[in-house]
């Protein structure tokens, strides 16, 4: 302190430091002058005293002046002594050396003592100066010694205070570890008095497990240096305090130990560590919360985290049951000694087993701790078991779901009072997060369950709808099937196939499975047949019933009129239609319905067709000779429009090869996506394009063309088509037939049959070349049937019919083999590189028409037609009938 103060500037000293140097010199000069002036006083005083006592005492001239000079030198220093000596010589010279008061004396010897005195005075002054300096130094030395002694005392006191009042405990022990001295802090640290500690061995204060470590520490200290280690020391209270010991062996061989009590620090560190672990646990729990997919795994993960990451001994989650006993069920657990939970029998009612931390926590909805299970009264029912498992404290945190406590999160620690405020705060936050996670999982589970139930219900509903739809559909299918069969059997007659030279195909595709379209074929007499194609307004079963009634009335009218015909003539179509109309017109009018129909009588002997068109779509006639088409239409009203309607008929002629196409408005009025109708023009163009097709193929081509036009497989209106191909007109002049085995060696018989059939024909119609070509064509065709259709099976038979008409010769070959597709056969290369199809090619070149169809018996038939030649003016042969042939090259 003193040193520090010396260094400080003294208040006011700064003014002296700035004063001018002359001022200090003047002050010093004044100080010296004063001392010298004062040094004159002793000689004056001695002179006065000498003068006074001079009569009494014989003056010894210099006796008293020596002390005076000595005194003056004391006062004024060396110069004071010298001045005083001079001044004394002057005083003595003037006052006491006789004659006094005269400057010049008669006694010159007097100068000797004066000189001696002066010299002696100088010596005295010098001696006095030295003496004074020595005394001053002595005085200073003494002062310094006193100062040092004081400082030493202060330092000692300070050291004593430091040792006594040090915050660290200071222990001095001998090398055997027996305590020799302990400061006050050390005593307080262990709770013993100094007297109790002196002589105690250090080993008595450390755990037995640390004895060896203490030995090792001592051995190491003996080698020099110092050691800093942490030790646990047993206090007088029985508690253990944690200290940081800094020890060394002093020079005198004693063991000096500084002990710093770090128990609080350790507790803080431990607390901080627990808080950090709690934070980590909270973080990991939140991660588990995010990833959790089900409640059980979430609870288990949280328990694991609290035990493994936060370092607690046991953790479990209990659910508050709302049963009679209000029991608590363990949902998840983790940690050592989990069997502790087996016999807990915890409740949350206000009973002994419900007043524990868990029950109280659930009941009061707040965290409850058992800081020391050993003394906590609430833990009485489980104390023994808990202590047996090493649990010293526990914490119960409520798990709140909404405003209710769903359960509790229980955490156990192995040390008492393990749960501090900050830690509890985090663990409570963790429990809240857990509750949120459980709530979210339950919400999600409920939502998923609801979604599953909804999907299940939807699926069930869908299945029911589907099942019901299937039932309805099945019922409708059944109904429609019945209707379709009715229509097929009652409303649509099968086309007659036994009419020679006539091939008929029908198509009746109702849009609703059953409709009012009907087709009637009648053969009142040989040589002609009637075709009726009708359409009742509307669709479905009502229309079908009306169609059936109309058909029945048509047949009835035909029967009636045939019966009353006196000359056996056939009743005219117009009369049949008129009678039919008369029979049903009232019913149709009352039903607010009508019927369009086309009644056609085709006389394939006379080549005339009579048509009664009652508001129908018309009939298309394909003229085979010209390849053109014509729409045959009448102007009668439909049946059921007006009573007393008289129907008229129209006559048209046709030739061999012509095709008649009857159809319903479902064909011509079919619409595409733009709303444009298919129309009769497109129908006629389609017929012209496919004029060579057989009726069966033609109707399907027409149907497909209409569907392609509409871009729909399902038509909105009924499609009814009747295609009639008339291959012969007039009566045959010759008919013959033969049956041969399917044996290639019988081919010569076929050729003989051809020649014999042609034998009666005039040369003008069929010359030798024509016969040869017919012979070759029939030979090739029969050969192909035997080789390909019959695959060489010689037990099969082939029926060959020959029929001659006025203008052509027809050979029809009936066989039981599969249908032949001539388009599938490649034409031969006439340079000889490919022979396949050569027979077909030859056949096509030898006759004018080759047709493949099924006969009335369902057998496949190939018809070869040779038109009788007519010579043009230039003599070239002109086939004047058929324009189309297969295999044209």
């Amino acid at each position: 302190m003193a040193g520090i103060e010396r260094l400080r500037p003294v208040p006011g000293s700064s003014e002296k430091q700035v004063k001018p140097r002359s001022f200090r010199l003047a002050r010093g000069f004044q100080h010296v002058s004063l001392r010298i002036f004062l040094s004159l006083l002793p000689p004056i005083v001695v002179a006065v005293i000498q003068h006074l006592i001079w009569p009494l005492i014989e003056p010894h001239w210099w006796f008293f002046f020596y002390p005076a000079v000595f005194l003056s030198a004391w006062i004024g220093g060396v110069w004071g002594g010298i001045v005083s000596a001079g001044f004394s010589v002057v005083l003595v010279w003037w006052s006491f050396v006789p004659p006094v008061h005269i400057l010049f004396k008669d006694e010159p010897y007097f100068l000797i003592p004066a000189t001696v005195f002066f010299l002696m005075a100088i010596v005295f002054s010098l001696f006095q100066g030295r003496l004074k300096e020595a005394m001053e130094r002595t005085r200073q030395a003494l002062a310094e010694m006193r100062l040092s002694a004081r400082k030493l005392r202060e330092a000692y006191d300070q050291n004593a205070a430091l040792i006594t009042q040090a915050s660290d405990g200071i222990f001095i022990a001998d090398l055997d570890g027996r305590l020799l001295d302990v400061n006050e802090t050390g005593c307080l640290m262990l709770g013993y008095s100094l007297e109790e500690l002196i002589g105690q061995p250090l080993f008595s204060f450390i755990p037995p497990r640390d004895s060896e470590r203490l030995d090792r520490a001592r051995e190491q200290l003996l080698t020099g240096g110092f050691q800093i280690e942490e030790w646990s020391l047993l206090c007088k209270t029985g508690d253990w305090c944690v200290v940081e010991a800094s020890a060394k062996i002093l020079a005198d061989g004693r063991w000096q130990i500084f002990l710093r009590d770090i128990t609080a620090r350790k507790q803080v560190e431990k607390h901080l560590q627990q808080v950090r672990r709690a934070k980590d646990a909270l973080s990991k729990c939140n991660q588990a919360l995010i990833r959790a997919t089900d409640e059980a795994s979430l609870l288990k993960q949280v328990c694991d985290v609290i035990v493994q990451d936060a370092g607690y001994a046991l953790c479990w989650v209990g659910r508050a049951e709302h049963d009679e006993t209000k029991s608590v069920t363990v949902l998840a657990q983790s940690g050592l000694g989990a069997d502790y939970l087996d016999n807990l029998h915890i409740t949350w009612d206000d009973s002994e087993r419900g007043r524990g931390p868990t029950g109280t926590c659930i009941r009061t909805m707040r965290a409850v701790t058992a800081a020391d299970i050993a003394v906590d009264m609430a833990m009485a029912p489980w104390r023994q078991e808990a202590l047996g498992h090493g649990y010293a404290s526990s914490l119960a945190i409520p798990v709140m779901l909404g405003t209710e406590t769903a359960g509790a999160l229980m955490i156990y620690a192995t040390e008492a009072d393990a749960f501090q405020a900050k830690e509890m705060e985090m663990l409570t936050e963790l429990a809240n997060d857990l509750a949120y996670g459980v709530s979210a999982l339950r919400t999600r589970a409920e939502r998923e369950k609801a979604e599953r139930e909804l999907i299940s219900l939807n699926a069930e509903l869908e299945q029911r709808v589907l099942a019901r739809t299937r039932e309805v559909q099945t019922a409708r299918e059944h109904e429609f099937e019945i209707g379709r069969r009715i229509q097929e059997t009652l409303l649509v007659d099968p086309p007659p196939r036994h009419l020679p030279g006539v091939r008929i195909a029908t198509l009746a595709e109702p849009s609703q499975r059953i409709d009012g379209d009907f087709i009637v074929f009648m053969e009142p007499r040989g040589g002609s047949f009637d075709v009726v194609v009708g359409d009742v307004m509307g669709k479905g079963i009502p229309a079908a019933l009306l169609a059936a009634a109309t058909k029945a009335h048509l047949l009835k009218a035909l029967g009636q009129l045939s019966g009353i015909s006196a000359d056996g003539r056939l009743p005219e179509p117009k009369d049949i239609v008129t009678i039919t109309h008369a029979d049903i017109v009232h019913q149709l009018i009352s039903l607010d319905s009508f019927v369009t129909l086309c009644y056609a009588r085709i006389d394939h002997v006379s080549g005339v067709i009579e048509i009664v068109d009652c508001g129908h779509t018309g009939t298309v006639q394909l003229h085979a000779r010209t390849g053109t088409t014509q729409l045959l239409r009448g102007n009668n009203l439909p049946l059921g429009i007006r009573e007393s309607e008289i129907y008229e008929q129209q006559s048209f002629s046709f030739e061999a090869g012509d095709v008649l196409l009857f159809f319903s408005d479902g064909i011509t009025e079919a619409r595409d996506s733009a709303g444009e109708t298919f129309g009769p023009e497109r129908l006629q163009e389609c017929i012209r394009t496919h004029a060579q097709l057989e009726p069966d193929d033609l109707i399907h081509v027409i149907r497909n063309t209409v569907q392609d036009f509409c871009r729909s497989e399902f038509m909105t209106d009924d499609m009814t088509i009747v295609a009639v191909r008339l291959d012969q007109v007039g009566r045959s002049v010759m008919q013959a037939e033969m049956i041969i085995k399917s044996d290639l060696r019988q081919l010569f018989k076929v050729r003989e049959f051809v020649r014999s059939s042609c034998a009666g024909l005039p040369e003008t119609l069929l010359d030798e070349d024509g016969v040869s070509k017919l012979e070759l064509a029939v030979d090739e065709t029969v050969s192909n049937i035997m080789k390909h259709a019959h695959s060489g099976q010689t037990n099969l038979k082939i029926l060959i019919e020959a029929e001659a008409f006025a203008e052509r010769m027809v050979f029809r070959l009936h066989h039981g083999g599969p249908t032949f597709q001539p388009k599938a056969v490649c034409l031969p290369q006439l340079n000889g590189s490919r022979q396949s199809g050569l027979g077909l090619y030859i056949t096509s070149k030898c006759v004018d028409d080759v047709r493949y169809y099924q006969d009335a018996d369902g057998s496949n038939c190939i018809a070869l037609t040779k038109v009788f030649r007519k010579h043009s003016r230039n003599g070239s042969e002109i086939p004047w009938k058929f324009q189309s042939k297969i295999g044209r090259t």
């Binding site: 290639l744 060696r745 050729r751 030979d779 050969s783 080789k787 006439l830 000889g832």
Partner: protein, 115 residues
Amino acid sequence: MEIPVENRQNVIVAEIPAKEIDAGNSGDLKIAMAKILENSSKLVIDFQRIQFIDSSGLGAILSFLRQVSARGGDLKLCGMTKQVRAAFELVRMHRVFDIFENREEAVRAFGVTEG
């Protein structure tokens, strides 16, 4: 089927003994001609007895031509009736074959001078 053969200065003249060649006997014809075809590079087939030939017969004749041509030889036809000729012309095989009125003309066409 036995086919009479005549060798005129290394030109083999084969006369088909049937009246008709159709699918019923064209197979026999092929078998009968096989040996003749093996030994003949210059071959003439005489059709003078044939009254009828169909596509099977035409195919057989065409196969004979291929076999002879493959051996570097040549095949010529002769003696066709009008109907048979018409059949050849119908399938334009008259452009493929050299067809002569009679066997002498056919043999001469091989560059052989009969003496």
